[in-house]
Each structure stands twice: as structure tokens, then as C-alpha cells.
């Protein structure tokens, strides 16, 4: 018995010691490893391009390794980010939107100055305007690197338009609403909307205020100097309500895949989507499918404060470098990455990059047209779900759903959103 006990005790001791031993080995081996907590899917073109460049870099830099932790489901990613941030365990690189939560992290000294990094490695002028403007904080500082340049369009099925007798793409909101009615009359779903993810609600809500005031309304709204009950706010709500008459039945519970399927199967005439989904609208050769067209954000017709070339564009989720973790090696890698990224992303993976390609563009015309549109964007429309704080966005999403299923009034909608904003500003 005693021998047996001794054996067991020894086994336990060896197990515990080896655990510590292996742990030690692991940590020493990981000294050159850079961990990137990413909100993008591992199958996304931008991630594949970065991995390819990192692999090339690793060949000439012994010990270097870039390790991705991909959590493509955004709520799960945000949960992970918040848990890691609150426990001071953020990795070297992590993705974030330039939202109020990220602003707090910056204020708390968790992220490196990317503006300075860009200057140090000499890449500032290589970015598209939108790719440095979108992640810039309210105080003018830049703390996020970007890898995409996205534009948002109304994508439409040409056959559905033809059948409804629509000869031209709508230029104004009134024309859009008229065309939607024509489409509805033919029996097709006028607009397929991804209501489960809620972001399209915020876009439709913000369209009229943007055309009326530029980004001024949103800028004032978020600090409590404007109200959703104001004429501009009410115009935004009214437009969202009008549009909802043309969404597919059950849109509040329809996700991105279901929405895209409705459009691709031609059961829906229009969908509102960004160029991050461009591969869904192109054929095998990368050209826009012949039966699909697209148009930009319509205008008011009179009294527009913004140009037709300005619309919803962004640079996707950004990437921050943890404070104190910008080692010379990481800096060198990022220089190498941005030097190659534009060409690799665009030519090899058909991703519209944040960085202008150095070489010739070999991609199909649609990519070049989008790049041209993005280059023309001067005062891009800011997105509400990034500008407003997370709690207000949560209230906004809930209120949008309630409003569109007739479970709340416009006055209550405005009051609840204003209250959430006021609470945030008071707490700040």
C-alpha cells in the first residue's frame, strides 16, 4: 500500500513539474510570436493577404511568427475584447472600431499612436483618404491601423428593374421610394434587409440627416446638442419607416446570409450592402455579374449639404497596437506589411485595400470603379453604430425593431434614444 501511495505521489509530482516545465518551454518559444486578436474571419481575403506577407517576412526573420486568433462573430469578439481589456491582458495586436469604447481605451493608455507609427515607417501618404480619416478620433489622433476601404451601395437586380419599368437608377430619395413601390407592384420584394445585425437600420436612419446636414447632426446628437425629436431627426425616422414598408416579411429576424440569398435568388430586387461583400456580386472572373447593378446614396434633390460623391464609406474594423508592445521587430514587420499589402490584397485576394497599390492594378473593372469612388469621397457619411456609444446603439437597435413592427411610436423612439445619449454624456 505504502509503495503504491509513494508511486502515486511521485506520478503527481512529475505531472505537476512537467506541467510547469512545459509551460516554461512554451513561454520561451513564444518570445518572437505576435498575437493578433482579430474580428475578421480567417477566410477573409485581408487576413489571407496579411498571413501570406507574414509568412514571407518570417522566412527572412528567424523566430518571427504572427499568430491570429479569429473571432468573426462580432458580439463574441466584443465580449472577448472587453474581458481582455478589463483584465489588462490585451495581446500585441487587436481589432477595434473607432467607437466611444475604443476612445476610452485610448484615454486609458492602452493603444499606441498609429499616426506616429505611420510617420516613422513612412507610409502616411500611401493610404486612401478614407482609411486614415475613418479611424481618426474626435481629437484628431489616430490609434488604429486599417486594412480595407469599403463603400456602401444599393445593389439591384436589373431584371427586376426592367420588369417594373424602371429605366434609370434613382437619383433622389423620392425617386427611390417611387421605384420601390413600382417594384412592390410587380410582386417582388423591393428591398432585402439584414435586420438581425441591425446596422442597415442605422444607415437608413442616418441617410436624410446626412444629406441635410452632413455629419453635423450626428456630431451634435452624440453630445446631446441635437435631438431625435428635431425636424432632422424626425425626417430620418420617417424615412426609415417609409422604407420598412418595402422590406421583406420577417426582416427583423433575417440575417446577412438569408438577406443575400433573397437578393441572389432574385426574390428581392434591391439590397443595401458594402463592398466587403463584393465577392458575392461578381462572377468567377471577378467582374460584376451582368444582371446586377449598383447605385450610390441618393440625394434630397434640393437643399443637399453633401456632394453625390460623398456617401457611406469606411475602412472596416481597425487594428490597434497595445501600448508598450510596439517592439522594433513589430515596427519593422508593419513597415514590410504596408509596403506589400496594397498589391497582394488587391491582386491576389481581390480585397479593396486601405493602402494604394504600388504596381499596376490587374483586377477587374468593378474593383477599379469602387477604388475610384472611394478616392473621390471627401466628407464620408459617418456611421451611427460607431459614433454612438455601445449602450445607445443597443437602445437604438431595440427601438428601430420596435418602431418597425409598430410596437412603439416615433415620439417614444426619439425620447428613448435621447435619454440613452443623455445618460452616456452624464456618466462621461
Amino acid at each position: 500500500m505504502k509503495l503504491s501511495f509513494a508511486k502515486r505521489a511521485c506520478t503527481c509530482a512529475v505531472a505537476v513539474l512537467s506541467l510547469f516545465g512545459f509551460g516554461g518551454c512554451g513561454s520561451s518559444q513564444r518570445s518572437g510570436t505576435i498575437t493578433w486578436l482579430s474580428a475578421r474571419s480567417a477566410s477573409e481575403g485581408s487576413i489571407k493577404a496579411i498571413k501570406q506577407i507574414a509568412d514571407e517576412y518570417a522566412k527572412s526573420h528567424q523566430g518571427f511568427k504572427l499568430e491570429f486568433q479569429n473571432i468573426s462573430d462580432r458580439p463574441s469578439y466584443n465580449q472577448k475584447l472587453k474581458v481582455l481589456a478589463s483584465s489588462n491582458r490585451l495581446p500585441e495586436l487587436w481589432d477595434a472600431d473607432p467607437d466611444p469604447y475604443f476612445a476610452k481605451l485610448v484615454k486609458d493608455g492602452r493603444a499606441e499612436d498609429i499616426g506616429k507609427l505611420y510617420k516613422d515607417i513612412g507610409v502616411t501618404n500611401r493610404f486612401y483618404h478614407i482609411s486614415t480619416k475613418y479611424p481618426t478620433m474626435a481629437d484628431g489622433s489616430l490609434h488604429l491601423m486599417t486594412f480595407n476601404a469599403n463603400a456602401e451601395y444599393f445593389w439591384y437586380n436589373k431584371d427586376a428593374f426592367r420588369k417594373a419599368g424602371i429605366a434609370e437608377e434613382p437619383k433622389t430619395f423620392d425617386e427611390l421610394l417611387t421605384d420601390l413601390q413600382k417594384l412592390k407592384d410587380t410582386g417582388v420584394i423591393p428591398i432585402a434587409l439584414d435586420g438581425k445585425d441591425q446596422w442597415p437600420f442605422y444607415r437608413f436612419l442616418g441617410m436624410i440627416p446626412y444629406r441635410e446636414t452632413g455629419n453635423e447632426f450626428l456630431a451634435k446628437l452624440k453630445v446631446g446638442k441635437e435631438s431625435m425629436a428635431s425636424p432632422t431627426g424626425q425626417a430620418g425616422i420617417a424615412f426609415l419607416q417609409k422604407m420598412s414598408a418595402y422590406f421583406q416579411p420577417g426582416f427583423t429576424n433575417s440575417d446577412a446570409t438569408a438577406t443575400l440569398n433573397l437578393f441572389k435568388s432574385k426574390r428581392a430586387a434591391i439590397t443595401y450592402d458594402g463592398t466587403w461583400n463584393l465577392p458575392s456580386y461578381v462572377d468567377d472572373s471577378g467582374n460584376l455579374k451582368s444582371d446586377i447593378g449598383y447605385f450610390r446614396l441618393p440625394m434630397l434633390g434640393k437643399g443637399d449639404k453633401t456632394a453625390p460623391t460623398d456617401f457611406f464609406a469606411n475602412s472596416g474594423i481597425g487594428t490597434a497596437v497595445s501600448k508598450g508592445k510596439l517592439t522594433p521587430q513589430l515596427k519593422d514587420f508593419l513597415k514590410y506589411l504596408f509596403d506589400k499589402y496594397g498589391d497582394v490584397a488587391l491582386n491576389d485576394y481581390r480585397v479593396i485595400p486601405s493602402v494604394k497599390p504600388k504596381g499596376s492594378v490587374k483586377t477587374p473593372r468593378i474593383y477599379q470603379d469602387v477604388l475610384s469612388d472611394i478616392a473621390k469621397v471627401n466628407d464620408y457619411a459617418q456611421v451611427w453604430d460607431v459614433q454612438l456609444d455601445a449602450n445607445t446603439v443597443s437602445v437604438l437597435g431595440r427601438q428601430c425593431q420596435s418602431l418597425l413592427v409598430d410596437n412603439t411610436s416615433t415620439d417614444e423612439f426619439a425620447a428613448n434614444v435621447d435619454k440613452a445619449i443623455a445618460q452616456y454624456n452624464k456618466a462621461k
Binding site: 472587453k82 416579411p249 427583423t252 431595440r398 427601438q399 420596435s402 410596437n407
Partner: protein
């Protein structure tokens, strides 16, 4: 003839000893056995304390602060608890949770019992049918929710609208209807977990003494009377345990509501636990979220105490 009591011939000290053994140990023995039992209790007590008691105390501490997860925590006293009283979404979530618990508990108990009786009544393929009934329990909630989302979808029409159209019913997006969303979430959640209770009830019903049932049969009891007057009273303790499990499980219900409707449309299918999750991990309000978690813990505790009291009264009666 009066029998002499054998105890009378034993000295009083011995009698006391004999009376205290084996069912009634003396105070000294009780103390010794209690001390001797502690090493056996201790691991469970330590684990329970670490994973249940400490987090509750920790959460209570956090609920007294205003904290977004970054930087310094700001003491706010009971402000987070006061906020709960005026928060319309929280109120809606609480009422939804009550509805979810009442309907979910009734449906799961009833479904579990009916399925157990069906399995008990059949002789052939019993194991296969039992397995089929149990399958939803082993499928993940996400998968079950996605299957039902597809079945209830109207674009393209799923099984439910397609069958409805055969009877002339117009397709209706039930999950996007605030009047139906919570009912469906509750029923789908009940469908997923009813199999567990089927297994428990089946085991309990199987263990009812066959002789008692035969005696009832001889006395002229039909199947229904056997069920109501013999079987159900004999498995009362099991029914009480499952009721406690169901109520506490439903009060903490999360997965189906979160995956299927995300608590929507609006807050029509929001539950306290989904709202708690969103408050902490989406809104980043750790203080208020902790206050909600304390509310949830107290709510569960109070409900279970009430149930215990009710069961106690039943026993006395």
C-alpha cells in the same frame, strides 16, 4: 397475560445507550461523526464556495460601482439597483422571464410526463423511441434554434408556413411578431429540454412497485385512475425535484432567446439573463450588469425558498 418488558431488566445507563443507537446517536457521537465527516464535505464546500459564493459576493461588490471595464471604478452605492426600478427594458425582461418560466415549466413537465407515459405504454421499439425523444437534449441550442428559424422562416417559406398554406393560412413571420416571439422562444426551449424530464419521469414511473399497480387493478382501477391516484402520488418527490430544476433553469434561460430572436423584436422576447449579458458585454456596463446578476441570483433563491415552503406544507398535509 402481561408481558414483561425486557428493557426493564437492563440498567438505566445501558438503556440510554441502546436507545441512542443506531438511529439516534448520542450528542458526543454526533459531534465525533460530524467532525469525521468534514473531510468528506470539505472539497464540495470549497468548490461550491469558489465557484458560486465568491462570484456572487464579487458581483455584489461590482454592483455598487459604476465601471465600464476600463480604468478606475467609481463608487455609486445602490444607484444600479435604483436604475433597475426605472429601466423599462429590464421591467419587460423580468415580466418576459416570469412568462417564460411559467409556460416553460408547465410545458416541459407536461411534455416530459406525456412522453414518459408513452414510452412506458409501448413494448416494441421502446429504446429507439426513447432515444428519439431525447435527441433534442443533446443537440446544441444554437443548432435547435437555427433549425426552428428555418422552419418558421417565410422567405423562403419554411415547413411551418408551407404547411399553413395548405390550410389556407397566409405566411406570417412569427419570430418577427412581438406577440408571438416570446411564446415561440418558450416552446422551442421547452421542446429542447423536455427529453431530460422524460427520462427522469420514465425512471420514476418504472420504479413504481408492480404489486401496488396490480392491487389497484384488482380493485377496479382503470389506467387513468392508476395514473392519477397511484403513479403520480408515488412519484411526487421526483415531480417536486424536477419542478425545482425547471423553475431555476427557466429563470436563467438564455440560449434559445439569444440565438433565435436576440431578445427581439424590440424587447419582446428579452429575458433577464439575455439583458444581463448585453448590459455587460455589449453595453460594457459592468456595474449595472452585476446588479442585474445579483437580482437574478436573489430571484432564483427566493423562488426556490417559496417552492420548498410549499412542498413542506404539502408534506404536513
Amino acid at each position: 397475560m402481561q408481558r414483561s418488558n425486557p428493557v426493564d431488566s437492563i440498567p438505566p445507563r445501558m438503556v440510554r445507550r441502546r436507545r441512542s443507537w443506531p438511529g439516534h446517536p448520542s450528542r458526543g457521537n454526533r459531534a465525533i461523526s460530524s467532525v469525521a465527516a468534514w473531510p468528506y464535505y470539505l472539497p464540495a464546500v470549497i468548490i461550491f464556495t469558489l465557484i458560486v459564493v465568491v462570484p456572487i459576493i464579487w458581483s455584489f461588490g461590482a454592483s455598487l460601482f459604476d465601471w465600464n471595464g476600463i480604468g478606475a471604478m467609481r463608487f455609486s452605492g445602490l444607484a444600479n439597483f435604483k436604475l433597475m426600478l426605472t429601466d423599462k427594458v429590464f421591467r419587460a425582461a423580468f415580466l418576459n422571464t416570469i412568462f417564460f418560466t411559467l409556460l416553460g415549466t408547465c410545458v416541459q413537465m407536461l411534455m416530459g410526463l406525456v412522453m414518459a407515459l408513452l414510452v412506458l405504454c409501448i413494448d416494441r421499439f421502446r429504446t429507439i423511441i426513447r432515444t428519439v425523444y431525447f435527441i433534442p437534449c443533446v443537440i446544441s441550442s444554437v443548432a435547435v434554434s437555427q433549425i426552428f428559424a428555418q422552419m418558421l422562416a417565410v422567405n423562403p417559406p419554411g415547413v411551418v408556413p408551407a404547411v399553413g398554406s395548405l390550410f389556407g393560412l397566409a405566411p406570417h413571420a412569427l419570430l418577427s411578431d412581438p406577440h408571438w416571439a416570446l411564446v415561440l422562444v418558450t416552446l422551442i426551449d421547452a421542446y429542447k429540454f423536455a427529453g431530460i424530464y422524460m427520462v427522469i419521469y420514465y425512471a420514476a414511473l418504472e420504479s413504481v412497485d408492480a404489486e401496488v399497480l396490480e392491487a389497484a387493478l384488482i380493485d377496479g382501477c382503470n389506467w387513468w385512475q392508476q395514473l392519477i391516484y397511484i403513479r403520480v402520488p408515488l412519484i411526487r418527490a421526483v415531480l417536486e425535484v424536477t419542478l425545482v430544476m425547471l423553475v431555476s433553469g427557466c429563470l436563467k434561460g438564455f440560449d434559445v432567446s439569444y440565438v433565435l430572436t436576440g431578445g427581439g423584436p424590440g424587447s419582446s422576447s428579452e429575458l433577464v439573463s439575455t439583458y444581463l449579458y448585453k448590459t455587460i458585454f455589449i453595453s460594457g456596463n459592468f456595474g449595472y450588469g452585476s446588479a442585474i446578476s445579483i437580482f437574478l441570483a436573489v430571484e432564483c433563491l427566493v423562488t426556490l425558498l417559496i417552492l420548498r415552503r410549499l412542498f413542506g406544507r404539502g408534506d404536513k398535509a
